[in-house]
Symmetry: C2
Subunit: 109 residues, 2 copies
DNA sequence: GTTTTTGTTAGCTTGACGGCTAAATAGCAT
DNA sequence: ATGCTATTTAGCCGTCAAGCTAACAAAAAC
């Protein structure tokens, strides 16, 4: 499952948001959801496998952290589409400006 | 289906990218995929219903365009998480700087 | 070494998604 | 009116995601 699919799930987005603020162990994360432990564990696995989070073992617990790099890749795709869209919009503005000027000079000439 | 789920599908992301560049009618979009027309039509419906695209009727065809606003909302969520993550990282940097300074003044004193 | 704590894996069920073909709808042309 | 083109809707099917419970693994504590 890729990062886009992983982020499609609201529970996983919440986990990402939690880890953006600070790292947490699996139990801490699970305790904040009204959902069985194994279900959260699976969500964490999905996030791990697509590279959105990583963890380190610490005694019996696993401390998860967000992988800012992978999230950034997704963000950049969104940004790129917006840029393309807005750049086109800007061009349209310029185009209309040109049309307006030509119209004015036509009126004069 | 919300915008995050809609963007989880690669075909729909391609459509979004196509429409970021310029508006296109349904047939034009469909022709660029090795997939039956109705399948693309369904993808367009999903994108419509979550507000990522809109269309206007033009003769027998429907001209689709990207709704930059909705895409922007998704982008902003990503950005917010990254900001939180990076702000924390910056704080850590400052913290380490403080520690280093204290260490230095300890060495002197 | 057994028990406790913490977390993951296995196995099952259910519901939704995404593809297809066939049929319906809507505008345009003749 | 009839047919032509563009697009969507209906209905079907296979796959897969996400939830649950029960079982397993590994480190820590006693």
């Amino acid at each position: 499952m890729d990062a886009f699919e992983a982020l499609a799930d609201p529970t996983r987005r919440q986990i990402v948001a939690m880890l953006a603020a600070r790292e947490r162990n699996a139990g801490d994360i699970a305790s904040r959801f009204d959902m069985a432990g194994p279900s959260i564990s699976r969500h964490l696995k999905v996030l791990r496998e697509c590279g959105l989070v990583a963890y380190r073992a610490e005694a019996t617990s696993r401390v998860y952290r967000l992988n800012e790099q992978r999230l950034s890749e997704v963000q950049q795709w969104m940004q790129a589409q917006l840029d393309i869209c807005r750049e086109r919009f800007d061009r349209l503005g310029e185009h209309l400006d040109r049309m307006k000027k030509e119209e004015e000079s036509d009126a004069k000439g």
